[in-house]
Symmetry: C2
Subunit: 730 residues, 2 copies
Amino acid sequence: MNKLVKCALALVMALGTTNMMAQVKKMPTYADFMSGSSRTSQAMASINGLQWWGDLYLLVDGNKLTATNPKTGKVDTLTTLEEVNNALKAAGVGELRQLSGQALWSDKPWMLLVTPGNYVVYDWQTKQVVRQTKTQQRGGRADYNKESGHVAYSVGNNLYVNDKAISNEPEGILVGQSVHRNEFGINKGTFWSPKGNLLAYYRMDESMVTQYPLVNIDTRIAEETPVRYPMAGMTSHKVWVGVYNVATGKNIFLDAGDPTDRYFTNISWAPDEKSIYLIELNRDQNHAKLCQYDAESGKLMGVLYEETHPKYVEPENPIVFLPWDATKFIYQTERDGFNHLYLMDTKVSVYPEKHSAAAGGTYTESLKTTQLTKGDWLVQSIVGFNAKAKEIIYLSTQESPLQSNLYKVNMKGQVTTINNDEAVHSVQLSASGTYVIDRYATPTQSRVVDIYEVAKPAKKKNMVTVGNNYENIAMPTVEIGTLKAADGVTDLYYRLIKPVDFDASKKYPAVVYVYGGPHAQNISASIRYGARAWELYMASKGYVMFCIDNRGSENRGLVFEQATFRHLGVEETKDQRVGVEFLQSLPYVDKDRVGVHGWSFGGHMTTSMMLRLNDIFKVGVAGGPVIDWQWYEVMYGERYMDTPQTNPEGYAETNLRSLAGNLKGHLLMVHGYQDETCVPQHTLGFIKACVDANVQPDLFLYPGHQHGVSGKDAIHLYEKITQYFEDHLK
Amino acid sequence: MNKLVKCALALVMALGTTNMMAQVKKMPTYADFMSGSSRTSQAMASINGLQWWGDLYLLVDGNKLTATNPKTGKVDTLTTLEEVNNALKAAGVGELRQLSGQALWSDKPWMLLVTPGNYVVYDWQTKQVVRQTKTQQRGGRADYNKESGHVAYSVGNNLYVNDKAISNEPEGILVGQSVHRNEFGINKGTFWSPKGNLLAYYRMDESMVTQYPLVNIDTRIAEETPVRYPMAGMTSHKVWVGVYNVATGKNIFLDAGDPTDRYFTNISWAPDEKSIYLIELNRDQNHAKLCQYDAESGKLMGVLYEETHPKYVEPENPIVFLPWDATKFIYQTERDGFNHLYLMDTKVSVYPEKHSAAAGGTYTESLKTTQLTKGDWLVQSIVGFNAKAKEIIYLSTQESPLQSNLYKVNMKGQVTTINNDEAVHSVQLSASGTYVIDRYATPTQSRVVDIYEVAKPAKKKNMVTVGNNYENIAMPTVEIGTLKAADGVTDLYYRLIKPVDFDASKKYPAVVYVYGGPHAQNISASIRYGARAWELYMASKGYVMFCIDNRGSENRGLVFEQATFRHLGVEETKDQRVGVEFLQSLPYVDKDRVGVHGWSFGGHMTTSMMLRLNDIFKVGVAGGPVIDWQWYEVMYGERYMDTPQTNPEGYAETNLRSLAGNLKGHLLMVHGYQDETCVPQHTLGFIKACVDANVQPDLFLYPGHQHGVSGKDAIHLYEKITQYFEDHLK
């Protein structure tokens, strides 16, 4: 992890010929960078619909769906768009515009087709519709169970199964939707049992949560469009887990007790559908319990595992049962400081004794538990299993925190490396666990897709390779390296981008790009070490661009992340100071012309750096920033900051309004006016604090945009940000 | 009116000595200009409490109240603060901190003292409290009647008289408050009868008016603070006029019929208290009626006068009865194109025949009417009467539209000039009409106060004279002149300010200050021809400042004002083009560095000029602008624009959002985030239009501020505006 990685890239030279160089635009616009990545899109189109079907891989070739045997290379055509649409028309359920990634059954010649209000199963052998589920859905996400053919979806705040409402709640109570603001890995609200007979779902009462008054200015006269937003320390919502039996139409709720100030996370089903597992947390988020409930009665069957930490515990992965042994499951925890895999045996109970954990907390196991992976690196995700070989296939940072590589581990904890190249991999496993579709990027390749056998990773079939995705734009050199954090001990990775047409004898203005918050990492082994389009754009305009992943960021383990606990932004800013002082020491950087830009947590950091390092940073653009953590939401905010009531000094120290008077440089605050994640009160409150302190920030709002400025307006945003540096830093 | 007025001022030279020059700050801040006017304040403090008491004038001299005979100069002490407070303390009703402008009776040795919740009458001869009215008031304005001692005031949305609520209406219905958004000269909601026995008052139901969602960000979590805002063409409020009889406790409402889409304006009482006069208008505002109602029954007694105009009629002055003849009153109308005084005789009815009026409308008189003043100038206000001489004393623009001078007219329409100097006068008349307190400014004097006999204006007693109010700040030269409007015919007045330390051989950047809307005039015979502190500040920074009163502005008569009807901003911008082309022609102006700033209607004009004259204006700052007239309120907006339904082409032509794509220069939009007059939808909607058009304006909001940025934050605002020109125009 501590090794120095340094590499100079000269992509244009690598790709270029003199003839090609003549085509290079000298001054691209940000729009050129937006459309520049279309090279990748075009390449990806050539592998349209690539996915596993058993151990064959599917591809959509024009209007034709083919299945290929990766071993033999044999290609079969399963069906065509015309055939599909003939069947759909015959059944009177609309038609499809194109084939692309439709779900298939592994054991039947079936394909799922979704048309407005219909979930239709098409048999590509008989070329007929064989099953049809009607819904009352008008858009939005649905949860279809392939085993039973039942589909669950939301209409307004209520939950429907097939064509029937299974809840009838008033406004303020949401049923079947994601809860707890998508923290704890939650991203949906319905969970079918393995055979699709039972549906577990969330019910959230947020009627007691104060509403934040967003305003829509697009109506004849502006209208308030309030959102329920539980702010740190304020009254939060309550969540229940329901179970609906499709056959009986009966609803029950898990008997979990008073839901006030509790989190119900990581729902999963037992393979036999008889019980449901949750990981429950207290509001303090320092005590997690793996609980098992009877799916029929809702009664608590047992607490299988408990974990505490003086700072926080953050479970983000549901348990997963072994496909070859329904008595054992994998639990993931950071209790030893890094996220690792633990095998728990439901057949072997142990005395639930509290143990000290390596990361400073405690744990209590009620089942026999075996740690399968171990080390000062972390498991990023379980990709799947090879049931025959009894192996778990997963991605981890074992080789480097900048990389995601593929490994497998057996039930004895023996790890085998599948790859360890300087890359960020993302893979899909075939049904048996024999093959992978491996999509990855490297520092010099923006997109590669290979198919290979897990056991023979060297023997790849390359599906796509894109090197430089901006082939008509002159690219800068990108370097990475490490610096010691402000603690004097920890290595931090940085990325340095030199201007296009770099001349070492010149003095360039420099801009730091920052995020700095938990669950994100800016420097990786991806294309150009993760440099964003905007950084390349700025380099094309003659800026040195710099980025450093401070303590608190992702993929470095719990101690690294928790250094910021209860005073978010403070340690991070100290580490950023280390970075910028290195930047200023470079002979070709004009140390008097240094700026900073970031969004969201990076907007907080940008504002923090402009105020706390106000002799260094002359120009900043803070987007969608958190300004005062008391205005951020309960789940994320209290995990890292506790509450304003229990940590008043921390909230005071990190409230950037109180530092407004430190502003010396040019600071542009940008906010989406419809931001439901980080509400506009942050930026508007900071503006007011600046007026009160008689300092002069600048402001821009994007009406109609939420926490990010997306779509074509992203061009407007990045041109605005860029122009601000051009106006004030050049 | 068409004469050229040109005058070079060099105030510093006039006031300065070499010794004083040494004290002149070379680079004042805007705060220096804010505090600079304290010289005027200090001078005014020396005439603290100056007002008439009969034909004696009162002054507060320290803690002593004196009365002076202007003829003899004899000074009597009426009372002291100590005596007043002794009496107040004896009555147990608090005390006063200072004497200043307390109301006195003309026929009794009485003085009104107001302490929290108490209206106390103090006899300064017996030194005792002689009358006391208790109220339930907690702040706010009250309407006290000296004759009866009754007091009317609001608590929340309901009306109280003395200590009793006389209405009990739910939220959405306002009683006793100003209505129709203060248009038509309305600025209060209660109107005591002459002897104080009856109270006429407004009742406004605005429960059907759509609410605009303003947002207060100062609470723990931001809160919506909606205001009922009737937008052009949308459903408006309804108004009734009530009459409360204090003795009987009985309330009646004037029987005026369905109040939907009607305006009830200019309430006044008959001298005998038996009837009430209103000027009523239809929603189109093109038909006014002077109506008389029986104050006891509420029945309509008659329509005394009617007036129509194809554009609009705008009554702004209640009728006033002659003090010496309760059968005659003065009506003011612009029916011949200029506001003039008409004597109407309630004893002599005439056949109500419709006549064509000189200004293009019609009028129908039911009473014998004599036009007392006439000419292509206008009466600005009736100052009062001399009952003995049977004269009306008034201010008018007879000498020049830049001036307010004092005149009197007798009942035969013979006008006598009291003064005609280059000045803007504001006067108070003594009880008999014999003397005046005359407060005025001239182009070289910021504040003068004289007392003299109306009949002998040359024999003045000067109370205060302040020349330059910014004695420690170097002042620029200020010139005025005229240019032909875009119509080729009309003279427009402009003001030109040369930079401090002007050097004719240099090329200066130039900034236009603009308002341009109805009911306002920027160039006048006031100090430095009306130049604002900010214009002087900009001149101190080396800008040529320019301002021109375009067609549509005040004091030039109806044709001049109505040139803009149904397409506000269009003709005005053409006239501003004339001004700026003259400005660019000046040898010391850099025609490529021209900017513009204005607020409110001037914000609309600034935006219009940046978009419609985008080859001329490089930098603009638009404050609190109207962007789309459909978002402005019904009363003002529909008067000049009709409704979006009846004038769709006018609303389309004047909607600056549709011109957003024309933006080429730097345009900063500034808005008070609590603006209830011109709601933030204007600026935010324009910003969105600019993002849609992919042009780059700048934005700033002032949370907590309404239509203006007042108090200490005005310094922040003007430094921000100034810096924007410094950044982009210099």
